[in-house]
């Protein structure tokens, strides 16, 4: 007889997911399924629309990473019009995108990762949130978190004209440039953001690395998978979030493949399972081999840690120092320690801030040649960027009138769908044992497994759920025999 436990972290103002854990008669984990509601019909929705409108439409897909979709879409639309883009536009887009990364990573680290480590994974759920973190570490730091987020967002607004639901990128470039006085407004905030990245790293050292138990969980806990890594790199194999080639490296550090955006369909395919709408990407040339770990698996992660795993180095000096410190602590490069994704975000933020500083000192950045007017319609385009949550691919075709005829998207979190399933089961199996029913701490430690990926599923949905935020149902013989809810 199978016992079913459901973890249903319904959220307000965001999407939600659900974990089902099936126990056997002895109370051991038999299987787990991470299920999410999948948005439908985007490809159909955009067919027939002017292709140049897509960068503005796709920002509605996701309320969390609209700029990532905007950038990938812009690059795909550039391709539909022949691919010529003003060099300055690439710089401005990249500059904008660095600020967006910082903005997102701050929110994730302090609102989601920090509660588990600053307060502890088994802390009272009522206090295990960013407010609890602020109570613990001090009001001053809370102000710095909010202030740094605001600065990163203001930088986006000044460069791109808006800080959300972007309308800035146009075929061949961008709609506005950066004026000298705007640059001078941004410059001191960039310095402060850099300081905040250094502060955040130090906080991580003190709070997480200073706790041997946490380090043990990160390095030796069940939060590891023998799957491969994907990320976009530049010509020197350093991470590049806006442009480059996609590199795939196995968990022993050997390069499996690398491809350009237009080659993605030769390297990535998607597997379908009957129990979920969401597909499972895998390395096409290896074929679908199931939810298996090992050197021959076709599964990969596309996460902040994966991006650093596929990189030989960072693109900036202080980020390089942080990169070396991280992998030394983790026992080598690459690393399979999925909870180190939180640390990897902080390392990435250093590169983001240093890159912003470079752009601030670039004499060309306030130029006026920020767009090339397209002269032709070539009908097909590909755009790949690193979204905060993984490699994001947009592929469009259009007809001779530049009306969209097809669109295909592989979003960041989708890449990680199979690894999320697998690590959830792995962690659940290690924590839930016969004779011991899961408590709140165990349930949270299972959630930590998928939270490391910062999964972004139905985040374009804003409806209030009208249900309790977390519900655990225990079934026996298909009937509910115990129900309890998590509330504060």
């Amino acid at each position: 007889m199978t016992t079913q436990i459901s973890i249903d972290p319904i959220t307000r103002l965001e999407g939600h997911g659900k974990i089902d854990i099936y126990l056997d008669d002895d109370g051991a984990v038999e299987d787990t399924f991470f299920q999410i509601p999948e948005l439908r019909g985007f490809e159909r929705f955009v067919v027939g629309r002017p292709i140049e409108e897509l960068p503005r439409i796709v920002t509605r897909i996701c309320g969390v990473c609209p700029a990532s979709h905007h950038m990938a879409s812009a690059k795909a639309v550039d391709g539909c019009f022949g691919g010529e883009v003003a060099p300055l536009a690439h710089k401005l887009r990249d500059m904008y995108y660095q600020a967006h990364f910082i903005h997102s990573h701050i929110a994730h680290f302090y609102a989601l990762a920090a509660p588990d480590f600053v307060l502890g994974p088994d802390a009272d759920p009522a206090t295990r949130n960013v407010l609890g973190v602020v109570h613990k570490v001090g009001l001053e730091i809370g102000g710095a978190v909010i202030g740094s987020r605001s600065k990163a967002q203001e930088i986006q607004r000044i460069i791109g004209g808006r800080n959300t639901q972007d309308i800035w990128c146009l075929p061949g470039g961008v709609a506005k440039g950066l004026k000298p006085e705007e640059l001078e407004q941004i410059r001191p905030w960039v310095d402060e953001l850099y300081d905040f990245t250094q502060f955040s790293l130090q906080l991580f050292r003190d709070v997480v690395l200073g706790n041997a138990g946490y380090v043990d969980i990160i390095v030796n806990g069940p939060y590891t998978l023998d799957v491969h890594n994907m990320g976009v790199v530049d010509d020197d194999n350093a991470p590049n979030f806006y442009d480059g080639t996609v590199r795939v490296v196995d968990f022993e550090g050997n390069e499996i493949c690398r491809y350009k955006a237009e080659e993605y369909a030769d390297f990535v395919a998607e597997h379908v399972e009957s129990w979920t709408y969401l597909k499972f990407p895998y390395l096409k040339k290896r074929g679908w081999k199931g939810f298996v770990e090992g050197i021959d698996t076709s599964l990969y992660c596309a996460t902040p840690l994966a991006r650093l795993n596929v990189a030989d180095r960072m693109a900036t000096p202080k980020a390089q120092e942080a990169f070396e410190e991280m992998f030394t602590t983790l026992g080598g490069h690459p690393s399979r320690a999925l909870l180190a994704n939180h640390w990897a975000r902080l390392v990435e933020m250093v590169q983001n801030a240093e890159t912003l500083k470079r752009y601030c000192d670039d004499p060309e950045i306030t130029g006026t040649e920020f767009r090339v007017i397209p002269q032709q319609i070539t009908g097909e385009g590909f755009g790949i960027v690193e979204a905060m949550r993984g490699t994001l691919t947009h592929h469009y075709t259009c007809d001779e009138r530049a009306l969209c005829t097809s669109a295909n998207l592989i979003v960041g979190t989708t890449n990680n769908n199979a690894p999320i399933q697998m690590v959830t089961k792995k962690v659940a199996s290690s924590l839930i044992k016969p004779g011991k029913e899961p408590d709140q701490g165990i349930l949270n430690m299972i959630e930590m497994a998928f939270r490391a990926f910062d999964p972004c599923y139905s985040c374009a949905t804003h409806s209030l759920p009208g249900e309790m935020p977390l519900q655990v149902d225990v079934f026996k013989g298909g009937e509910l025999y115990r129900e309890f809810r998590r509330c504060c």
């Binding site: 959220t11 965001e14 809370g142 203001e154 804003h462």
Partner: protein, 183 residues
């Protein structure tokens, strides 16, 4: 575990946002949702329909479309004394077109970590107040939530049931908001 960290960064009000955003205002009517995700747009549709009636009332600002959540809401709500959020809701067995009104105190139960990307609404408000940001208190955060049928399909149209009910909902919610504004 150290709790002695110090950080001397500027407070949010020093980050250079335009001065007009810092001036205390009274009421923000906020249409929440995604305009291309079927019924998820109901809050936006309501705000658009009500804006002509509400925008001339002194001290009332109407933002027709807000699709951000989490900590980003602080930037939207800062400086207001009262919030009237128009949003969608899905309840078990709920009838599309039914609407509910409650205030921020009803959101307290979700202050724990349930948002997979960011802080949830109640936590965001509490954190902002803790940081000294001028925000409406919980009893002045009014939520009007309309029961919906479909928020998973990309479409610029509401579901037929909700579209049919929209004129009645607009009238009901307008009355509710006007009553709220005089309290």
């Amino acid at each position: 575990m150290s709790t002695q960290h110090s950080y001397q960064a500027a407070r949010p009000r020093d980050c250079g946002a335009p001065a007009r955003r810092r001036r205390p205002r009274r009421t923000l009517v906020l249409g929440m949702g995604n305009p291309i995700l079927s019924d998820d747009a109901i809050g936006i549709r309501l705000a658009s329909a009500l804006k002509p009636r509400l925008e001339d009332i002194p001290g009332v600002d109407v933002v027709e479309e807000c699709c951000v959540g989490g900590l980003n809401l602080l930037d939207v709500l800062e400086g207001y004394d009262r919030l009237i959020a128009l949003d969608s809701i899905k309840t078990i067995g709920g009838v599309p077109g039914t609407w509910y009104a409650f205030d921020g105190t009803a959101l307290r139960e979700t202050m724990n970590l349930r948002n997979v990307h960011d802080a949830n609404f109640a936590t965001t408000l509490a954190l902002g107040r803790h940081m000294g940001i001028h925000l409406p208190d919980d009893r002045r955060c009014h939520v009007v939530a309309v029961e919906i049928a479909d928020n998973m399909t990309f479409s610029e149209s509401l579901s037929p049931a909700l579209e049919a009910a929209l004129p009645r909902i607009v009238l009901d919610v307008k009355t509710h908001i006007l009553m709220t504004l005089v309290t």
